[in-house]
Amino acid sequence: MNSALDSKNQNTVRPDEFWGALLDCATKEVFQLMVQTELTTLTGTIEGTPAGDTTAMVGLAGALCGVLSIRCDARTAESIAGRMLGSVGAVNPDEVPDALAEICNMVAGNFKSKITRLADNCMLSVPMVIRGEDYEMVAIADGEQIVVCLGYETREIWIAIAVHP
């Protein structure tokens, strides 16, 4: 066997049955501290696929290769930004994607810190945000995807990790 490939496989961390719960927990912790909001778990009680016109993404590279994304509608993203900044009135529109990107970054960092072999062997990219309507996030071919849906006030936030095979 190719020794480089063998070494790579030994160092690769694969998702297991606990990752959904860890992702749920990592996200709730970030929202509790930075958005002063308690999210509720909706997975299993709602149907559908991730939706919303604002998606923040952070790339993962190293022992785990993939993308962590957070998707919600524009109103939710604006509300999150407002709470993060402690704004009473309207939020500067330029700060909305910035806020969601930071949340995504913190969720990714918090998630990987909960998995021993990932904490020191997985790097995060600079986050980015996509805004618009009617787009679909397509998971990487043959990769695994973990999706968690959480309730934010009366709306939904979708958190997903698409793992490269």
Binding site: L33, M84, G86, A99, M106, G109, L118, L124
Partner: protein, 128 residues
């Protein structure tokens, strides 16, 4: 007590505001607060005048927090300035690297204002 002059370095303007707000919530009576979006801007700010404390992110485009810290330590006038890394970085090796270069501590995002106070307030005691 002299009100501390603070430099906050982060590529997110939202996070820079949150760090400043957390410092104020922690009861720290801030003097001038200067913001920088990456290590290059931060070095330029440092060359314009001394700071009492610097809080810097690690993962940033253009120049990250580790390189900023490395270059900061070559500026004689800035060598004694305490630097706290504020980061999502769960990687111990990156944090250890920052501490070995000269950072005085680190705060992991997400954080509370109490955690900010715990790390920053002792560094400002010398201003009393």
């Amino acid at each position: 007590m002299k009100r501390p002059r603070v430099l906050i370095v982060d590529d997110s303007s939202v996070m820079r505001k949150i760090v400043e707000r957390s410092l104020r919530q922690a009861g720290i009576d801030l003097g001038e607060v200067v913001e920088a979006g990456n290590g290059i801007e931060a070095l330029a700010a440092v060359r314009e005048g001394p700071f009492d404390v610097i809080l810097s992110d690690i993962n940033m485009p253009a120049m990250d927090g580790i390189e900023f810290l490395r270059q900061l330590m070559t500026i004689d006038a800035a060598k004694g300035t305490p630097v706290i890394m504020v980061t999502t970085e769960g990687s111990e090796s990156r944090v250890v690297e920052a501490l070995s270069i000269g950072a005085k501590g680190y705060i992991r995002k997400p954080f509370t204002s109490d955690q900010i106070k715990e790390r920053v307030a002792p560094l400002l005691e010398v201003l009393r």
